[in-house]
């Protein structure tokens, strides 16, 4: 196997053991991007000289010499983030962000910037100033958003790992759509400084998108600035909620996730119990409202009146509409957040993890990002947020794990959530899922990543 096709930890180990030359690996990653990215639009900018400089000065850290991708949500010392948009409400400048520093200090080599949904405002990745990234499993399908490019990059084996951000599910949705493992850490546990909303957001965190849970553990350790211990999930108490996120789903998704939950129970000699978590619908609404109002301080009529016309019409409309959200609704949303946190804390006294599908249906077409559910036709954005928002509202960690392929050959993701600070348990549980299914789904490769390298590869 070529070094670029190894896992993130495999690449790191090969370099550390002297079995892989990091310069050659960087060249291989750049060649792979040149070969495969035109069909994906996953990476919007490379900077080979900067990457070589990072490699030349890379310390002997856990990712020394390993190429990675970072989302267009984080500034770099040589590049301001664009947030997938023609313009942001507040100007941005090149800077050292927390995730950049964490990667640099771990010895990683940032090889490119990943595409993303415009202004982070969607779950499909269908809108971006760069044009949408595409799903390696089917380039006509959505890769998921808002961390669309990082997910597509890893899924297509352009790199072994990528850093995204998750404010309302934006790591987990693309992980599910692209067949990856993606972790939304406990709030404030992963590097966040340098983000344009770092001082105002109460929902956004940085998070890893990787091929499997062990790689997520490695990249999370880098982003957290602490080594995340490895354990074996045993006697896992798995909670299932018989409500919209697990019930109003595509039958294939429901079947795959139910099967994976059963396997997880058997693998961990655990138990499954139904738990009640009332008010999920209100909690989702509260999360959406809070996420949309956290950054309102930067909005002024003057700024809104001179929005770049290249920003999509829908997002210009949302930016303006946010000014009309009544304060009483935001106040209620914050109280619902408190209520939901208390209810969830009570649930986590009885179970270790909550499990439900990450998204209710596999990746929809880019041309029409809508999904068919038992309750009817729905936009993917409205459907996805029902399962994704709870972790952001409450601050709890959640992970998406691949657990199957649909009959159309599209990945299916199971979401596991845990109590505050139990990110390690989620990684242990995700590894238990992998063991239980023989790593069938984390080792599955999209057709595009199975393609033979082009003749010019490596030149």
């Amino acid at each position: 196997m070529r070094p670029i096709d190894l896992s993130l930890r495999g690449q790191a180990a090969a370099i550390a053991a002297g079995d892989a030359d990091p310069s050659a690996l960087l060249d291989e990653a750049l060649a792979r991007i040149e070969e495969r990215n035109p069909a994906l639009n996953a990476i919007v900018e490379t900077f080979p000289e900067r990457s070589r400089e990072m490699l030349a000065s890379a310390p002997d850290g856990p990712l020394r010499g390993v190429p990675v991708v970072i989302k267009d949500e984080w500034p770099l010392p040589w590049r301001a983030q664009r947030f997938g948009s023609a313009e942001m409400l507040t100007p941005t400048v090149p800077a050292e962000s927390g995730p950049f520093r964490a990667l640099r200090d771990a010895g990683a080599v940032i090889v490119g910037v990943g595409n993303m949904e415009e202004l982070g405002a969607g779950s499909t990745g269908a809108i971006s100033v760069y044009g949408p990234a595409r799903n390696p499993w089917d380039p006509e399908r959505c890769p998921g958003g808002s961390s669309s490019g990082p997910a597509a990059s890893v899924s297509a084996r352009l790199v072994g790992g990528a850093v995204g951000a998750d404010g309302l599910g934006s790591v987990r949705y693309p992980a599910a759509y692209c067949g990856l493992t993606g972790l939304k850490p406990t709030f404030a546990r992963s590097a966040m400084d340098g983000h344009h909303a770092a001082d105002t957001t109460t929902t956004i965190v940085s998070g890893p998108l990787c091929l499997d849970a062990a790689d997520c553990r490695l990249l999370s350790s880098v982003l957290f600035g602490e080594s995340l211990g490895e354990g074996v999930a045993s006697g896992l108490r798995i909670g299932v909620v018989r409500d919209v996120p697990s019930e109003d789903v595509d039958p294939e998704v429901g079947e795959a996730c139910e099967g994976a939950i059963d396997l997880l129970r058997a693998e961990t000699a655990g138990t499954i119990r139904e738990v009640a978590l009332p008010g999920l619908e209100e909690a989702t609404l509260a999360a959406v409202l809070i996420a949309n109002s956290d950054g309102l301080g930067e909005a002024t009529p003057e700024r809104l009146n001179r929005l770049n016309p290249e920003i999509s019409l829908i997002n210009r409309a949302v930016l303006k509409y946010r000014m009309l959200i009544p304060s009483v609704a935001v106040s209620h949303a914050h109280r619902i957040r408190t209520l939901t946190r208390r209810r969830l804390a009570a649930v986590f006294e009885d179970v270790d993890v909550l499990a439900w599908p990450t998204v209710p249906a596999p990746a929809p077409p880019l041309e029409a990002p809508i999904v068919e559910l038992p309750s009817g036709t729905e936009t993917a954005d409205r459907a996805n947020v029902r399962g994704g928002a709870l972790a952001n509202l409450t601050g709890t960690p959640a992970i998406s794990v691949p657990v199957g392929l649909s009959s159309a050959g599209l990945p299916i993701g199971l979401q596991l959530g845990a109590a505050w600070g139990r990110d390690e348990l989620l990684l242990d549980a995700a590894e238990a899922v992998e063991r239980a299914n023989g790593r069938r789904w984390v080792d599955a490769r999209p057709p595009l990543a199975d393609a033979e390298p082009a003749a010019a590869d490596g030149c």
Binding site: A188, T202, N305, R316, V318, K320, M323, L324, S331, R335
Partner: protein, 70 residues
């Protein structure tokens, strides 16, 4: 209720104008579409009685909520 969309349109146009936010006809139509999605959700949140919920002091989202005092 039949004139609800019209009232929504008036709310959008008047609300934006009152804040000095400009929007042409196309934008107003799209903002109106956003309101059709968000409006019912906002109304539902406002109607949800949260009067008995005591807000968390010093909210720390990295930790579970403190135990409520009896």
């Amino acid at each position: 209720m039949e004139d609800a969309p019209d009232r929504g349109g008036q709310f959008i146009a008047a609300g934006l104008a009152s804040l000095g936010i400009e929007a042409d006809e196309t934008e107003l139509a799209v903002v109106g579409g956003v309101h059709e999605v968000f409006g019912p959700a906002i109304r539902r949140l406002v109607e949800f009685d949260t009067g008995s919920v005591i807000p968390e002091p010093d909210l720390d989202l990295s930790q579970p909520p403190p135990q409520e005092k009896a």
